[in-house]
């Protein structure tokens, strides 16, 4: 499954560690939330990079205390129809100021890329290779956005206000 990060297809340095496997001291790993919450203090302070896969029905409050020590938070789309992780993503970015990698995982398809990007995701475990290749074009489909999110894209309402200002400022 290709990983798209910062707009490009890249290799994944993170290894999924199963719940019953031993956690290596070094190296970049992804853990389940259950495993991580078993010993969050130690796991978030290990030498290698640590990431957590957070299910979409688990309260983020349990994760928040460790956010600045995590390299990745991976949010889950069990099917593309289940949109809970969009809210989690915005909360992590906009309310809890999470600045690490925010990864979309599960049934991640082309036609969700832009929504995900706008919600704050910056890496994507993409289901189909063709979708991953189309990433760069797909996220340019739209140039107008109606709602403010933490992604910084200017909304139509704000652009109109700017336009009005420049109109009234010019002679």
């Amino acid at each position: 499954m290709p990983l798209v990060k910062d707009g490009k297809i890249t290799g994944d340095e993170f290894i999924h560690v199963a719940d019953d496997a031993e956690v290596p001291g070094g190296g970049a790993i992804l853990l389940s939330s259950t495993r991580f919450l078993g010993d969050p203090e130690a796991l978030s302070r290990r030498a290698g990079k640590t990431g957590v896969i957070w299910p979409n029905n688990r309260d983020l409050d349990d994760l928040v205390p460790y956010l600045d020590r995590l390299a990745v938070v991976a949010l889950v789309f069990p099917t593309f129809r289940d949109g809970r992780a969009y809210s989690q993503a915005r909360l992590l970015r906009e309310r809890h100021n999470y600045r690490g990698e925010l990864r979309a995982t599960g049934q991640v398809l082309r036609d969700q890329f832009l929504f995900m990007l706008r919600a704050g995701f910056d890496s994507f475990e993409v289901k189909k290779p063709a979708d991953a290749e189309a990433f760069a074009i797909t996220v340019k489909r739209y140039s107008v956005f109606y709602q403010p999110t933490g992604d910084g894209r200017m909304t139509a309402l704000h652009r109109r206000m700017m336009l009005r200002h420049s109109e009234s400022a010019s002679p």
Binding site: F80, R81, D82, G83, R84, Y86, S87, Q88, R90, E94, R95, L109, D111, L114, F115, M116, L117, R118, A119, A130, R141, Y142, S143, V144, F145, Y146, Q147, P148, T149, G150, A156, L157, R159, R160, M161, R164
Partner: protein
């Protein structure tokens, strides 16, 4: 009218291109039907019994004559020459070809019409009072706020995959014509004690399998806070709405299971966290003003209250009959709002042919400043007609079959497409409606009966809003046969209520008889000739009706 600017136009065109690409990928097999299904639903395309159905949004029910002509064009070029107006200010075409859909959308986009989010589990077309901006006594034009909500909910990155569909309705009049109490979020614009305008917010209304009347979650939300408050509701719903059972996924179930107080507290907590954050959705006056400035109103003339033309025409009883139930008071003296019945005797409710649409667009140009409205009752309206033009307009409407004098009367029936088109249906709706319009074709009898709304749904999904019909008819299936449950006493206005079952379900062939019996019982039971059917039911309850209707069955 709301005039789209460059930004709105760009977004619609970008949506058309996106959909063109999605259709292409489906036709080439790159997308599975399961994957494509969600994508097409997000753009109003259903797979029905015989073909794809294409649902187009008419936000807050306002259309220009140019837009109506374009709908006629789509009906002719891509469909079978007619369209069907729905209970949610949409129009549907029933015979569209998938490969041609992107072109149809492209043609519509040229005049600022789209089909975004007219189906699927997202925020749907925002509906409002079809008399917005012209109704006397309105706080202000609710379409300004409808448009703000329309923009805010269009392609929302967080709320495009909700547990289930989500519908907004907005009213700004004391009399609710937008049925806000049966919507997921209902908004009533009003003034608080300080004279500021804001919204009473209702939540959790909806029909379907488990009907609920919406409950007030907050009595007053200032206009500038409307979007952030709505976002708080949507976020709570997105996270906690049920996804395990499609029948329990609407927000009404969440509100019901948590209780309105607990739900309100969840929303309030969320709102307090986010209302002033960086990305706050707080609207400043300039933004609201900008939207307001793009709604234009006609340059009305100063006209007499009762022009000569109207006095003369009053001698014609046919004109008078039509005027009495089709013409309503306008906020500007000398003008009137004219409702056009799409319920001809024997016709399917809500259908209009391409020729009718074109002719009506011409009449709108001539008599209504080029504007047409669409109401949830599946009728159309011309919102700015000079009263002196009423007789001429009536003649012209009569020629194109749009002057049936039955607005708000017993044959002004709301019905869903039912088994004739819909793959979910248990029973037919349209033929029941057609039969009823024949039974009550006598206008004298209809006048005598007075205001009476019949609503018909072909299954429990309740697209015909049967729960809130004064008489509600619901198609069910019993041992492979079409049966109908009949309720009475429902209403969708500011006093919204769910109807009560009058007795056991009856077979297809008996529905019209039962309805006739109910109406007869009402005529015998009403206290005065002007006591409306719903008021008689309210006063007496269902029992006396049940006795009379079922005594001989």
């Amino acid at each position: 009218m709301y005039a789209y600017d460059e930004l709105d136009r760009t977004l619609i065109n970008e949506r058309v291109e996106e959909f063109r690409d999605q259709v292409k990928r489906r036709l080439s097999g790159e997308l599975t039907e399961d994957e494509f299904k969600m994508l097409r639903l997000q753009n109003g395309v259903y797979l029905q019994l015989h073909a794809y159905m294409f649902r187009i949004a008419i936000p807050y029910g306002t259309l220009s004559s140019e837009q109506l002509r374009r709908l006629a064009h789509v009906a002719r070029r891509y469909d079978r020459g007619y369209g069907h107006f729905t209970t949610r200010q949409n129009i549907q075409f029933n015979w569209i070809k998938l490969a041609e859909l992107p072109d149809a959308l492209g043609d519509l986009a040229e005049v600022g019409i789209h089909a975004m989010q007219t189906s699927g589990n997202n925020t749907r077309n925002v509906t409002s009072d079809q008399w917005a901006g012209v109704a006397p006594g309105e706080i202000e034009d609710p379409r300004i706020w409808s448009e703000l909500i329309r923009q805010y909910t269009t392609l929302h990155p967080e709320f495009s995959f909700l547990p289930r569909k989500f519908k907004f309705a907005i009213t700004a009049s004391p009399h609710d014509r937008a049925a806000i109490k049966i919507h997921d979020i209902g908004l009533r614009l009003h003034r608080n004690a300080e004279g500021e305008t804001g919204f009473e917010v209702l939540v959790g209304g909806g029909l379907g399998r488990t009907p609920f009347i919406g409950k007030t979650i907050k009595p007053f939300v200032h206009g500038r806070d409307l979007l952030s408050y709505v976002e708080a509701i949507l976020r709570v719903y997105n996270q906690y709405g049920r996804r395990d059972n499609i029948y329990k996924a609407r927000i009404k179930i969440l509100v019901h299971e948590l209780g309105i107080d607990k739900f309100a507290k969840e929303v309030e907590d969320e709102w307090q966290e986010m209302r002033d954050s960086d990305t706050a959705l707080t609207l400043d006056d300039a933004m609201i003003e900008d939207i307001r400035s793009r709604f234009t109103y006609p340059a009305y003339e100063k006209l007499p209250h009762t022009p000569e033309e109207l006095k003369k025409a009053a001698h014609d009883p046919l004109f008078e009959r039509w005027r009495k139930n089709s013409v309503s008071t306008h906020k500007v003296q000398g003008y009137a709002i004219v409702t056009l019945s799409l319920k001809p005797v024997g016709g399917p409710p809500g259908d209009a042919t391409a020729d009718q649409m074109d002719a009506l667009a011409d009449l709108a140009d001539k008599y209504s400043f080029g504007e047409i409205r669409v109401g949830h009752e599946q009728n159309l309206a011309l919102p700015h007609v000079a009263k002196r033009d009423l007789p001429a307009l009536w003649n012209a409407l009569d020629k194109i079959g749009l002057a049936t004098p039955n607005v708000n009367l017993v044959s002004d029936i709301i019905a869903c497409p039912g088994l004739d088109y819909c793959s979910l249906a248990n029973a037919r709706s349209i033929p029941i409606a057609q039969e009823l319009t024949r039974r009550f074709a006598n206008h004298e009898t209809a006048d005598l009966i007075g205001r009476l709304h019949i609503n018909i749904s072909g299954c429990i999904n309740a697209c015909g809003h049967h729960h809130v019909g004064h008489i509600g008819i619901l198609g069910v299936e019993k041992n492979g046969e079409e049966f109908y449950q009949i309720t009475i006493g429902g209403r969708a206005d500011e006093n919204a209520e769910l109807g009560a079952l009058i007795g056991p379900a009856v077979p297809y062939g008996e529905v019209a008889d039962v309805v006739e019996d109910i109406v007869e019982a009402y005529l015998a039971l009403r206290a005065r000739p002007d006591e409306l059917f719903v008021d008689t039911v309210k006063r007496l309850g269902v029992e006396p009706f049940r006795e009379r209707v079922y005594a001989t069955r």
